[in-house]
Structure formats: structure tokens, C-alpha cells
Amino acid sequence: MAVLTAPRKETRRRTEGRPPARKRATRVPPVVLAFVLVPLLAEAFWVFWPALQGFYLAFTQWDGVSAPQFIGLGNFREMFGDAVFRTAALDTVIWLLLFGGLSAALGLGAALLLQQERRGVGFYRAALFLPVVFSLVATALVWQAMYQPDGLINKTLEAVGLSGLTHAWLADQDTALYAVIVPALWRQIGYVMVLYLAGLKGIDPVLYEAAKVDGATRWQQFRHITLPQLSSVNAVVISVIVIDSLRSFDVVWALTRGGPYHSSELLSTYMYSTAFQSLRLGYGSALAVVIFVLAFGVIASYLVRAFREADA
């Protein structure tokens, strides 16, 4: 990415930066260096250094007490035969697609509906946005009450004559994962909506007027103006969602801890329980590396975008 963007920047700086001499002092005062170095060291100490260790530990076997034992790719080889790992990986993919896809689609839908400046719209927006500030743990417990056998969801189903559908939602292996996704969505949609609302506000209304003069239908306007104009927001939303999906932990931990029988296990919960409950710190670190590798593409593209921004 450096190769792609660096030359562009060099030429720009040369052309605009040269004539009025260099405005910034070439010599950076020591206190300014300290301004950067202290925070950088704090981050290096708590993030970069541990991260390097994390990668190393992935190639070891470690119980946390005796010295870690280097076993090369042993942990990764073990994953192939690990049925729980396969479930967790599959669930993570389902989570990415369902949680990610639905929160993007529904967030955009809510933004399209609530972008209109009408009376009362502020209230509606706040209602959708309120859960964003809840902790996922509190969110999870609220929904756990709803999912109870005598909870609101089953009572509603009975009331509308669908008592055949009533369920122990969180205790059933077939429904646990989906039952956990719903609270996560309930909380995420408002957030995505805010991002899209800001994006929609930035679209020049002239475009719509021109399209209307040309006789474009609403769908055509959406397809050919709204969506392309939102492309930068889409990129942000997708990155945020992918990173959030891979990090998702709290809601699952509070609701099911990955159960029953690992049916709602995600890579993140499996990593945590392997490392801190089974005390297999090496294998847990290897699972973390898998999560990192999955996230890496998104992180890299996020950084490329940030690179361009820092450039502009």
C-alpha cells in the first residue's frame, strides 16, 4: 500500500509545499517528540509487545505455569481434527453473514426511512439509537428474559395462536446461535443507521432533482444515486461490521457461553474458554491467530483507506 500511495503524495507536497518556503519548523522540538513517544510507548507496552508474544505463543504448548514449550505448527494441526473448532469457525462465518448482512441492510433501511425531516423523527431516531449505549451484557440479559419459556416472546406466540412455535430458544441447539444474534442486531442497527444517516445527508439533492426530471423511478434513484454516493460509508460500515463480528464476545458469553454443546460457540468465545478455563494458553493463542488472520484483510484495507486520508 505504501508503494501505491507514497509517490502521489511526494509530488503533491513538492508542488504545493515548495514556493512559500517550508512553513513548519524543520527541527522538531524535543517536547513535541515526547508528545508522540509517551503515548506510543504506552501502546507499545500494552499492545505491540503483547501482540508479538501472542504470535509466538501460538506455536507453543503452555499451561501458564511451567515454561512454554515450542511445538511449531502443532496447534494449527490440531485444529483440523478439532470438531469444536470447526463448529466455532462455521458459527463465526454465519455470524459474519447474518449479523453483518442484516445490520447493514436494516441499518440502511432505517436510515432511509428516518432521514426525512418530519415531526417526531428525532424521537424515532433516538429510540433506535438508545440500545447502542447499553453494554452487550445488559442487552443480553434483557433478551434472556424475553426468551424465557414464560417470557414475552413465547407469550406473544401463544396469544396469536402460534403456540406450536414456542420454544426454549437458548437451550435448543438448533436455535441458540440465532437467538443470540437477535440482541446483537438490536443493538447494532442503530449504530449503522447513524453512519448511514450522516452519509445520506451528504448527498447533493440536485442529483435527485436531475434524476426526477429525467423520469427516474424511486428504485432507479436508489440504485443509481443513493448507493453509489454511499460507497465510502459502505466501506466503513463493512469494515466496522467485520471487525465487530470477529470481536463479538460479550453477548454470547452472557447468554449461552457458547452452549448448549458448543452450538453457539464463536471463535472468540472458544478462544477465551480454551485459554482461561481449560488453561491451554498455547492453543488459545493459536485460535487468536486464526481470528487475527480472518480480520487481517479488513484491517489492511482499513489502513489503506486511512493512509489515503492521512495523505489528503
Binding site: 499492545v47 418530519r118 424521537f123 424515532y124 438508545l130 453494554s135 414475552l152 487475527f292
Partner: protein
Amino acid sequence: MTATHTPAPRPRTGRRRMLGTAGFHASAGLLSVLWLLPIALVLVTSVRSFDDVAAHGVGSLPHSFTLDGFRQAWVDGGQQRALINSLLVTIPTVLLSLLLASTAAFALSRYDVPLRRTLLLLMLGGNLLPPQILLVPVSKLSEMLGLYDSLYALIGVQVGFGIGFYVFVLHGFMRSIPPEIQQAAVIDGAGPWQIYTRIILPLAKPAMAALSALSFTWIFNDLLWAITVLRTDTQMPITASLIGLQGQYVSMWNVIAAGSVIAAAPTVIVFLKFQRHFVAGLNLGAVK
């Protein structure tokens, strides 16, 4: 999507406009009800008595009113201690992260620090790492430092992990401040420290306010770091204590609901008070 609004100059009949308005309020209202229903449910459950919940179910209308659930969660369930722990972690972390992030952003955005773009992205990259890769080493690191099971470890890792993002956002904001303002100060003999405290920081206030509101909720709501570096129940913040409550008061939904209300209250208050900043902060971070 019956209510898609067309801000067209072309005249519409009053009847159609009324239908549009009705459709809009119907769909948006239904959505809001769906969203607020779980919150209403938890508020109602938190003031019901245990016998009422046991007899009629969590999903029924209330037949009682009592603050017993709150008392049990607050006193017996240890939520008072947990809430204090949460605030003891959250407030210093927010202040410290923003102090460190704002100095770094100031230096990187206003001076020709060598490698400044690389440093900026390195710092952002640290924040984007999945925390799972850090969990085991961080817990061991805090053990080594003798900080394991102490709130200091939690503050340390929260500051270190959050800094990158705040630097990135503040850098973008500070760069948009015109250089002339700073030059005038330089001519008047101001050093970097004065420029930072007297000029840039006051001008960056909106971004700082937005980030404070945002980071307050993030740090307050965190669970993963807390259960990684803490062990003892009395050290745990409110999120972890809430999970403990769930185990301790199985099916006593009035207590669990009251606990959730207590855990959610501080961030809801921050949100209601700083709503504008909060929403701006989310956009600042993302849609720049």
C-alpha cells in the same frame, strides 16, 4: 417502505401527503415500539416482586410494585461495589487516554515529526487488532508486573488499546485547524506546550467532547478485558458483576432486571446528556 419521502417541488394532493405522513408514522412508530419494548419490559420487571414474576411469568403484566429487586442487586448482589469499580476504571482511563492521544495527535498533525504517517497508522493498527491475540500475553504481563487482579492493570490495557483510535480521530480533526493560528502564536513566542494547551486543545473541544462520551460508554461497557486481568469478585466492574448476578439469582428476574437497569443507567445518562456529541463522535470516527 410505504413512506419514502419525495421532497419534490411538484405539487401533491393533500390526500396523498396525508397518506404519506400516516404511513411514515405507522412504520417508524412500529419500529420504535419494537425497539423500546425490551427496554420497557426490563424496567417493568425490575419493579415487580419475585412472587409476582414466579406466579405470572416474565412476560406478563405487573401485578405488584416493589424496589426489592434493586435493593437485592445493589446490596446483596454487590452491584454498589461493582459500579464504583467501573467508575474507578472508566474515569481515569478516559482522562488518561484523551490526554495521551491529544498530545500525540497534536505533535503528529502540527509538526514534521519524522515518519509521522507511519506512526499514525501503526497506532491505529494497534487498536484494530482483535483483542483475542492480546489476552493471554496481557494477563501474563499484568501478573509479571504484580498488577494482576488490580484495577491498574485494567486501566493500563484500556489506555494502551484505545489510544490508537483516539489519536487517529483527533489527528484528523486537528489537521483541519488553519496553520496561521499557530504561526501567530509562534511569532508571539509561544512554545509547543503553550500552543497545545492554549490554542489547539480549546479548538479541538468538540472532538474531545465527542470522544469522551464515546470512550466512556466503551470502557464502561467492557467485559472482555475485565475478566482477563481481574479475578476477585470485589474487583469486578459492573458488566462482570451483572453476569455474576445472573448466576447467583437464577430465574429471579426482578433482581437481574434491576441489575441491568443499574448497569445501563450511567451510559444512558451520558448519552442523553451528550447525545449530539455522541452521535457526532461515531461519525467523526468513521465517516471522515
